[in-house]
Amino acid sequence: MASVRRSKGESHLIRYLILGSWALFCLMPVLWFLTIGLRPRVEIITPTPIYWPTFSLEAWNMIWRDWPMAKYLMNSVAAIFGSVVIDLVLAIPAAYSLARYEYRGRDDIGFYILSTRMMAPAIVAIPIFFLFRNMGLLDSVWALMLIYAAINLSIVTWIIRSYMIDIPKELEDAARTDGASDLRILWEIIVPAILPGIITAAVIAMIFAINEFLFTLLIASTPNAYTMSVALANFTGGSDGVIYNAIALVSFLAFLPVFIVVLLIQNHLSRGLTMGAVKG
């Protein structure tokens, strides 16, 4: 008995060693970023390698002192949060229609919605720029909100749809014979039942929105609408040259909230990314 238990312990140890090294390998860029962000600038640009870095809050102090980082952060939060709300308001009914109603061309419409995600964004960048300029929406957080919502709408719709398809149809039949209208069925029965899916879709949309760069750069022409991702570009030009430690620190700050949210919902997330291909 004892030997069995020991060998089991050993196999556990090996398992943790392998998984640990893999995790370290994957997290290396993140950790490296963090150490860069917390080093003095001189130390980063020296050509000779430094094994034990000096801890410094130089970059931290600088980004809050010399740049309106709080404003960028607020812009990011507002644009992302707003876009996710718009996505959910539009995607939940759309997904319900794609998942449950039968009408001609339904699958084609569903595929068309998804296909908008397959297009290279650069193709529509210029038209969108003119469109937004004519609407007087340049350089505003509202514009970013709309853009992010448009980019993510297809994927949010499809994730929510995949969850809705898995809801037993009996549930809706029951609600219908109980006297509920379609809207009430959607709101009182379907939405609560697929809440994990909705949260997953919202988080995925959030991640894409945080990382969005092209359209943000196009539309946010002044710090008025800069977000974290575009603010990064600030540190590369000007008389100060490339400020690597500030870039690293801001990147890390942009990464942190997503990281925490993903940790919290990781079980749902893998389910959402397979988009209903695997029943869970």
Partner: protein, 351 residues
């Protein structure tokens, strides 16, 4: 309460028939069971009564009113589903309250009605639970409470017991029958289980391949089957069907001869004999057959005896004390009264 008429109901998907030529007149307060194998159209028929499915042709009439274009939510029909279909995010109390809320029953009335419905199915103590925290039987009782709480005109049940174990099923069967008698609600019940059909129904509708095979009381369905399908579907083990020929009032088949057949038919025919109408080793029987003992299965209350007669399997219900060596021969007799003859081609009953 309500009388339901189905007039020439058809349901087609493209060229595929789900239900064809269904005519049923369900009396007020009647308990009607739709019985048949899976895919026979019984659930589709029920869904058309509920309004969840629209008939391609024909009319669904409730109390003289054509309901074809009336949506399920406006039909005052309550339905219980095989998978219970309780709303997972709501407590049992909220589940039972849902139909009252949807139909704008005054708040003051709701609580009393919910508690009364829950007590009727002994779910009173579980009102605060979520469906996930209940057993299968409790869930089904909760679903029943949700269906009866608003005193519907019509009560529909779609295989409500098939997810429960055998013992629970029997208890629930009795409870459902009681409930229906108490509430006097016209009820339609779909099942593939003949025992449920026999015990619950005022009348049974036997369906196969989208068509009605026979409508009748359980006794009629059992003792006067309209064709070989009904004869084979009701009864366990099913009726033995023997292929043979009738000539001048004598039915002959390999190993079997029946004289004095009072049926006006000449030529190929089928003979049906229920396993329970057979008498093993009769002292003296005018009609009998001899077969080789193929299986003896004592179940306690009776013994199932399988015989090989010619190339045919023949099932017999024997006395519980009956035992025989495998491979020995057994003698089985019948009563002329309990023999059924059917047409060889269509399987329709010869009378």
């Amino acid at each position: 309460m309500a009388r339901i008429q189905l007039n020439n109901i058809q349901k087609r998907w493209g060229s595929v028939y789900g239900v064809r030529d269904v005519n049923i007149d369900i009396a007020d307060e009647e308990f009607l069971v739709l019985l048949g194998p899976s895919g026979c159209g019984k659930t589709t028929t029920m869904r058309m009564i509920a309004g969840l499915e629209e008939p391609t042709e024909g009319d669904v009439i409730m109390d003289g009113e054509i309901m074809n274009d009336v949506d399920a939510r406006d039909r005052d029909v309550a339905m219980v589903f095989q998978g219970y279909a309780l709303y997972p995010n709501m407590s049992i109390y909220e589940n039972i309250r849902f139909p009252l809320r949807m139909r704008d029953v005054p708040k003051a009335e709701q609580d009393a009605r919910i508690r009364k419905a829950a007590d009727m199915v002994e779910m009173g103590p579980y009102l605060d639970r979520k469906p996930g925290a209940l057993s299968g039987g409790q869930r089904q009782r909760a679903a029943l409470a949700r269906a009866v709480v608003r005193s519907p005109q019509v009560f529909l049940m779609d295989e409500p017991l098939s997810n429960l174990d055998a013992k629970l099923r029997q208890a629930m069967r009795i409870q459902i029958k009681q409930l229906q008698r108490q509430l006097k609600i016209t009820s339609v019940y779909v099942t593939h289980d003949q025992i449920e059909a026999m015990t619950l129904a005022d009348r049974i509708v036997v369906m196969d391949q989208g068509s009605i095979q026979q409508i009748g009381t359980p006794d009629e369905i059992y003792s006067d089957p309209a064709n070989t399908f009904v004869a084979g579907f009701i009864g366990a083990p099913p009726m033995n069907i023997v292929d043979g020929e009738i000539k001048a009032g004598v039915f002959t088949a390999p190993g079997l001869k029946v004289a004095n057949v009072k049926i006006d038919h000449e030529g190929p025919a089928k003979l049906g004999i229920r396993p329970e109408d057979c008498i093993v080793s009769p002292p003296k029987s005018p009609i009998h057959l001899e077969g080789e003992v193929y299986g003896v299965e004592p179940t306690g209350d009776m013994t199932y005896l399988s015989l090989k007669v010619g190339g045919l399997d023949f099932e017999v219900k024997a006395d519980r004390s009956y035992r025989a060596e495998l491979g020995s021969s057994a003698n089985v007799g019948f009563d002329l009264e309990h023999l059924y003859f059917f047409k060889a081609d269509s399987g329709d009953r010869l009378r």
